[in-house]
Amino acid sequence: MSPYDLLPRFKAQYDANNQEFSISGVIRPQAIDELGPSLALLRDAIGRVRGVLYINVRRLTQMNNAAFHAFSRIIIDACRALPDLKFVVITSSVVGWTSRKFGRLSGIEPNITVEEYDSEFYPGQGFLEEGGFVPILRTQTKLTWRHERTILPRHGMSPGIVMADICCGIGDFAVLVQKEFQPSRIVALDHSISSLDYARRVMREFDIRGIEYTYGDASEMLLDEAQFDLVTCRHSLQIFNRPELILKELYRICKPGGRVYITNEKNSHCLGEPRAESIRWTYNEVAKLFAHFEMDVELGPKSRRYLIEAGFEDIRVETFMVTNMDGDPQDFADVIVAWADVYAGDMASRRGDGPEFVARFRQGFQDHIFAALHPKGYAGWPIWVASGRRPQ
């Protein structure tokens, strides 16, 4: 038997609580008989539910027409036999063919609707994509890179490796890694189409080779398992409402013996002198604001726990402080200006904060900028770096 035969190719399961039948993996049977148990499970699910049955195909990467017909026939027949029952097929925008193929079903039976699972898993994405945030993301990476370029080799980075940068954003980290460490291949994935467009444009303009940008959902990636020596995921677990789902995927695509590298913040620990009190108050409020939108920007020190719980070993954790003394203090100040615009602007407004709160909130950012640009001042932004090895 070849390793191919040993791999679980697909999985069908029914979740009674959510009235959800899900199929995942690769389904390419030669004969329908091969699907017998899965088809029986679907029939059984139809017999049990009331109102609506969700058909989740978000993690279905391949399905041939033979299988598609077999599952579709059961659903269509059920629509005809049970007119009160509705079906909602949940597809993924990442798997290009699913929405088109399953979308045809709603043209056959009106009780079947097809919904493309969207970016709701990324509550922060909307805030960060809007308002010309790109220059700030670039400046942030420039500031953190001064530290990470010396830290990365302690966490598995070396020339010639195959790596993935998950939640790559505008791709600037991948470009810096490519120049500094020359991995043999970088796959950079993000769920923001506009960020990827920007990344590809940069790659074309600067004739950068060796980076493959791909659209994807970090919690349900199309990437094959166990193919990367190093998987990086920076500043992203903290803006994801279920970080353990991403870690599970990072673990899956990492080779046994390879490492997963994550960076996260603890925003309430941003600091500055002078005007320390005002700065501290504002960044404590930043943490609460993000928590309101189900993002944990206090995640940094929790990285060790998350990595252990995800099954990693040989956990390494370290911290560094980006400060106004890292190069031009104006760069640091520019980043704070952008944070103030988004946090005390759109985010505070969407939470419904009043003008008094916003004025005090904004003052803390102003004071942080003051500290950064003051000739004797000091302003800091702490980052937690952590990595773990996937067991052999």
Binding site: Q62, H69, A70, S72, V94, R100, L105, G107, I193
Partner: protein, 175 residues
């Protein structure tokens, strides 16, 4: 694996640059169903590396190509070679699948491809999904046109073979 030579197109036709070609004895190919999955997955990965989104392109290409290979798998001719060749012109990838076939199958492919080109292709496809227990080979070809915007044609090959030419504009299907 063989790399083919540059294809000479008639004047006015776009030039498709060869990317990759795999030739197999048809006996070997039809000896295991999983060969369809193997070949489609392997070739999809190889040719998608320099697409704007290699992972998504590979997934789409494999999905479409696998269907074609599954059609070829059902050939009734047990001698000869299966040739899979992929070439590229801009956003379009061209699959040329040379399949040994008996005369009736030749006629089948010609008729099937003419149905694919017809305006009622989508209708025929939906009727099949809602009514047939399993998709016929013709419906599989229809689906390529309906869901992947593929254009299909049949070209003459050697006496006991037929060449299916499928153009897939997959770059345009992506985000």
């Amino acid at each position: 694996m063989l790399m083919g030579s540059v294809r000479n197109e008639p004047a006015g036709e776009p030039t498709f640059e060869p990317m990759i070609q795999i030739d197999m004895e048809i006996k070997a190919f039809v000896s295991a169903w999983k060969h369809c999955d193997y070949v489609s997955t392997y070739m999809a990965r190889m040719i998608s590396q320099n697409r704007s989104d290699s992972v998504r392109h590979s997934n789409l290409f494999s999905s479409a190509f696998n269907e074609l290979l599954e059609v070829a798998f059902r050939t009734r001719h047990t001698d000869g070679e299966l040739a899979c060749r992929v070439s590229r012109h801009g956003a379009t990838d061209r699959i040329e699948l040379t399949i040994p076939c008996v005369p009736e199958e030749r006629q089948f492919y010609q008729e099937a491809v003419s149905h694919v080109a017809g305006f009622e292709a989508r209708e025929r496809y939906l009727n099949s999904v809602s009514g047939d227990l399993a998709p016929s080979r013709e419906v599989v070809l229809l689906e390529l046109a309906v869901d992947y915007n593929a254009t299909l044609s049949v070209e003459e090959a050697e006496s006991d073979a037929i060449k299916l030419v499928v153009d897939l504009p997959l770059e345009g299907l992506q985000h």
